[in-house]
């Protein structure tokens, strides 16, 4: 694999450096150079993968092995390149939205507006499920309603850049856009419903005891160079972690693509099988970091007759409802509230799955 840090997306290349800053100019030049390399690589993939499969390896397009190898050699570099570009871009966008800033934007909002805003901010605010608890407490501290906080906690993991890239690369922009919009919708509606239910009694009581702060944190102001650094760090941390799963997933997907007969999955994951959506959710919830590896497999299955709604439901339950996050939230939420939370989000996911199986 090419060194991830040397690849930088074209989207950010036009960003201008602050005048008079030599380092900024050098970084802008580096960005432009990386963007050119990125574009050149991206357009080499298709002819390159064909040349490699058919000429060098001598595999025919109609053979099982030929189809599988061609699939892998085309999809793997494409997805990895997209991943580097999007994660870098998202890393820069996120440097503008610290949790502290998001909290300030949400403080004092009414519920309905608050739910919408919290879901949108959930997409752009850097979030790691390991800091779900401090974030929850921080939100409660300034009086943000429970339902609004939960909207944020649903959207933050569910609308995830890695999932979006994989959907974009393997299914096209329409499916990626569908995923983004329905994910937001679930976060808004589920958070609003949870807020209506008045579940504050199921929040651990110590949460509402006022905590005397001994220090405050003011995030430092970032310049152009630091923000590019944030993008590079995001690439190193995220792409560095998921690439083996992505490659393994595409390899399995390639095998299915080449060897599994057409229509085999239609009976199990097709539109006619109504139970495929709940099954996808049940299988999806306990899965977590390996989500990145599962999407390419699912994509290959889709080609063999699986339905799109089932695929979306599966994706959402894998990354939106994760077991580790629920265990972490147990520190502040009683089991009844976690069960209600999971139940309502799961209903939303089921609805999305069935809806898309019915209309598409």
């Amino acid at each position: 694999m090419t060194d991830a840090n040397s690849l930088v997306p074209r989207e950010t290349a036009s960003a201008s450096a602050r005048p008079g800053s030599g380092l900024g100019t050098r970084i802008a030049a580096l960005l432009a150079g990386s963007a050119a390399i990125w574009i050149a690589l991206y357009f080499t993939i298709e002819p390159g993968s064909r040349l490699l499969t058919h000429r060098l390896l001598g595999l025919g397009a109609e053979t099982h092995l030929g189809a599988a190898v061609a699939f892998f050699l085309f999809e793997a570099p494409k997805v990895l390149l997209l991943l580097v570009a999007v994660v870098f871009g998202v890393g820069i966008v996120r440097s503008f939205f610290t949790p502290e800033r998001t909290r300030a934007l949400l403080a004092g909002r009414r519920e309905s507006i608050g739910n919408v805003l919290a879901s949108l901010l959930g997409v752009v605010t850097p979030f790691c499920s390991c800091s779900a608890v401090p974030l929850f407490l921080g939100f409660v501290e300034v009086g943000i309603p429970l339902g609004v906080t939960l909207s944020f906690l649903i959207s933050a993991p569910m609308v995830n850049e890695v999932a979006l890239v994989l959907l974009l690369g393997l299914f096209g922009w329409k499916v990626a856009a569908l995923y983004l919009s329905t994910g937001l919708l679930i976060a808004i509606v589920a958070g609003w419903v949870l807020g209506r239910l008045r579940l504050e009694r199921w929040v651990e009581s110590w949460v509402y005891e006022s905590m005397k702060q001994s220090a405050t944190y003011q995030a430092e102001r970032l310049g152009f160079t630091e923000r590019v650094g944030c993008g590079a760090t995001a690439v190193r941390e995220i792409v560095g972690k998921v690439w083996p799963y992505v490659l393994a997933g595409i390899a399995v997907g390639a095998f299915i693509h080449g060897f599994v007969p057409e229509g085999l999955m239609a009976g199990i994951m097709g539109k006619q099988a109504w139970w495929s959506v709940p099954l996808a959710v049940v299988i999806g919830v306990p899965m977590y970091s390996n989500a990145a590896g599962i999407i390419p497999v699912v994509q290959a299955l889709l080609g063999k007759g699986a339905a799109l709604g089932t695929v979306l439901a599966f994706m959402m339950s894998v990354i939106g409802l994760s077991l580790p996050e629920m265990i972490i939230l147990r520190k502040v939420l009683r089991p009844q509230l976690i069960a209600t939370f999971v139940g309502i989000v799961a209903v939303g996911i089921l609805a999305v799955g069935w809806l898309f199986n019915a209309v598409l």
């Binding site: 610290t98 949790p99 502290e100 909290r103 850097p126 790691c128 390991c130 800091s131 608890v133 401090p134 974030l135 407490l137 921080g138 939100f139 501290e141 110590w206 905590m211 005397k212 702060q213 001994s214 220090a215 405050t216 944190y217 995030a219 760090t233 972490i328 520190k331 502040v332």
Partner: protein
Amino acid sequence: MKIQVLGTGCAKCKTLTANAEKAVQELGSDATVEKVEDVREIMKFGVMSTPALVVDGKVMTAGKVPTPDQIKKLLGA
């Protein structure tokens, strides 16, 4: 000097603790590195993203893992 690492025990928090210890060792400083894992204690510092690095009660970074060299700069070396 007292260095505190705020974090609920995730992988990043462990890396930050290790980086802080390395920075202290390389500086030959007598600073102590302490882990703060209790959420209530963490909240007292007003941070919402872990891991966070606190030096003598002042929050220096939150939500990221600075390298030992960056930590050395934060310590004023």
